[in-house]
Amino acid sequence: MRRVILFALACALLPVPAIAQQSTEARLAAYRERVEQLEDADQIENLQAYFGYFFDKGLWSDAADCFAANASFEYGQRGVYVGKERIRRALLLFAPDGLGNGYLNNHMMLQPIITVADDGRTATARWQGMVMLSAPGANGVWGVGQYENAYVKERGTWKISKLHFYVQAMGDYDLGFGRGPIRMEGPSALFPPDRPPTEVYRAFPSGYTPPFSFVHPVTGEPLPVAQPADSVARP
């Protein structure tokens, strides 16, 4: 109801814009494009959420189906898996299919900043990732990191073309990040990745900033980052 009022007031107060000089067709085309941008961002937001709910429950096949055929998947320092079928198998490294009792694999995904390309065919997004894990016989684990993902629209359907979760910190439930930090896993010997990690870094207590895919919302400038030194990786 409030929105009705606000909207009505907005209509009443709006000055006749310069755009009114344009043809009806030109205005309709411009508005269609703006609505499509909004819809694209919504669909990408939902897609990532679908993936997240599948991933939480070890529904690896459904999770893999969210990817484009030649997509890539990278989690922490595990390396890069390329192609939907390789991803489907690599997901089994996290836990058995369908998890099972004693497992918790929650990867909450929030705070998306979605940038749809002008042509509406590709997009990127940064997400905040909050992680709560458990495995049979092990203590609970907290985690936090950011996703820097890419998406592609194929025949009207958005798919994940790149998923990269930059783990920033993992910690024991009782000890927390400060007293019980946990290192990231490296590439699997059992099912090696197609490529090594795109960026080599260590999780907390080492500092690292996952690169930003979006531009500054006010200045429009890209956001390159300077990483702190690392005695081994960045001496």
Partner: protein, 260 residues
Amino acid sequence: MRKTLVLAALLATIATPAAAQSADQQLDALDARISRLEAMNAVERLQKTYGYFVDESQWVRLSELFTEDATLEIGGKGLFLGRHRVLEYMQTAFGAEGAKDNVLAQHMQFQPIVDISADGKTAWVRSRAFVMSNAGWGLPLYENAYAKGEDGIWRISRLSGPFTMYTSGEGWGRNALNNTWPDKFDPPPDLPPSTVYLTYPAYYIVPFHYPNPVTGNAFAPDYAPVGAYFRPPGTAEQAEALTIGRLADGTQPIAEPPRD
């Protein structure tokens, strides 16, 4: 009053049947609706970006999200006036630019309620953050304002981040940190806190910028001199709480009686 407004609004929109409206009038209305959705997205994006910049100590970039005359107030620290003071606050209180070893201060941003003014130039957001840090956990709330500049770009004009709860790694069942106060750390604020309140385990409601979405009733904040409640407004316990003063040094020990 509300009903009158609604009626007026309805008359304004339906007095002229759609068929009788010119194509340009209909398109103007469509433009306004799309613009409002875009504004909501832009404002949410600003707030999310603020969070990511806090996470990574991107202080200069963070300050660029603010208007020249913006205000910032976080916890009980007091008010900082102007973009340059926002930058000074962040750099002085939280250290150098960029990620650092042994520092984790994720401020996850979520649950925004966004409202855009009728003229499309001002916006308000109530939202929250969950802080996961190497030192413990925290729950800031936000009641922020945003302004659309002459250049068409949205910026933060007021960042108000009162604290709900902060705790060490022990967790909020055993430990609660005090609200901050003006001279707890540098730099000093330009003005004292706009509101004095205690954080968890005390009960304090940050006033809502919006009415109840269903009834339209506005929330009536309590303007008593002490803004600390430990029970909802209107209860005897809350009235009694208003007689308890805030401690001069800002301390608020959990499980200990208040000191004078």
